[in-house]
Symmetry: C2
Subunit: 174 residues, 2 copies
């Protein structure tokens, strides 16, 4: 499994990264998040709103930072993260999505690595990710384990009866 | 210990409860939260802002609900809670504070019970509370245990090195 992932990563095209959102990213984020088929309408609206809030208010006031992965002009994936209020160095990774046509090429791994570099540069110590315990999210949970995130909590029936919240954390080493 | 608490609760004056914030509550919340001596300047600002957001946007858009405990005209304690986005029936209890001159009279317990009644009426299933693992917060953690909240997670060094986040939950029974 790990070998296959590495092989695929080795064949991945070279990505560009951009950290400043553009107005066109609102639509790109909607497309990326909708395509996955994983998220509810309410969740998709939130993903889109976070880009809008960042564009309207800037990084400091909105609290939302982005990594947009690009190939040429196309946005092929993105991450949204931000510092957790009233903490020293704890960050949430709110969103991560990769273009459906470019899955299994190591893009998610590269986008997370870029977000981690940015968070470390901002004196981050911890990154938290929340996901669902439902079967559908097993690939998501496996992905975070593979890139060094450790499961630190499970809240049973959090999202709904039968739908747990699972929290992962990576401790960054400067 | 429990006996003493019950005795004190039995002597407690009868509280009124109000759920609609008034502009004057912004200052009352600042006073209540500041008095405790537990919260940082940033945290106090957030407590105050939540009242302002609720006044400006209403309950649905702000996501913030309140219980103000009153004796006559005076606000002697409050709770702020709200539904957690993208969940079915999970609520966060964001803030709870009791007038410093009226500690240890069972007011906190009564305010939490009123918030729980409101949350149950809104089809809430779970209430989550986050607090610090620092020694200073031992009375806070003991309070939540005493009123039926169970510790469900500890995030080590979450707030800062040496300052854990402890998460409590109460499962409501209709």
């Amino acid at each position: 499994m790990a070998k296959t992932e590495d092989d695929l990563a080795a064949t991945a095209v070279s990505l560009g990264f951009r950290h400043q959102p553009l107005p066109s990213d609102v639509g790109d984020v909607r497309r990326l998040v909708t395509q996955t088929g994983f998220f509810s309408r309410a969740e998709i609206e939130i993903a889109e709103e976070l880009v809008g809030e960042r564009l309207a208010k800037g990084a400091a006031e909105s609290g939302y930072e982005f990594v947009f992965a690009t190939i040429g002009e196309a946005v092929v994936g993105y991450a949204c993260y931000g510092p957790i209020a009233c903490t020293v160095g704890s960050f949430d990774l709110y969103w991560l999505a990769v273009d459906q046509g470019r899955q299994r090429q190591g893009l998610g791994r590269q986008i997370v690595a870029e977000a981690e570099r940015q968070i470390l540069a901002a004196h981050g110590r911890h990154i938290y990710v929340e996901t669902s315990g439902r079967d559908q999210y097993e690939p998501t949970r496996r992905f975070y384990s593979q890139v060094g995130y450790e499961q630190v909590a499970v809240f049973t029936d959090f999202y709904a009866p039968g739908d747990d919240k699972v929290v992962y954390r990576k401790v960054l080493r400067p």
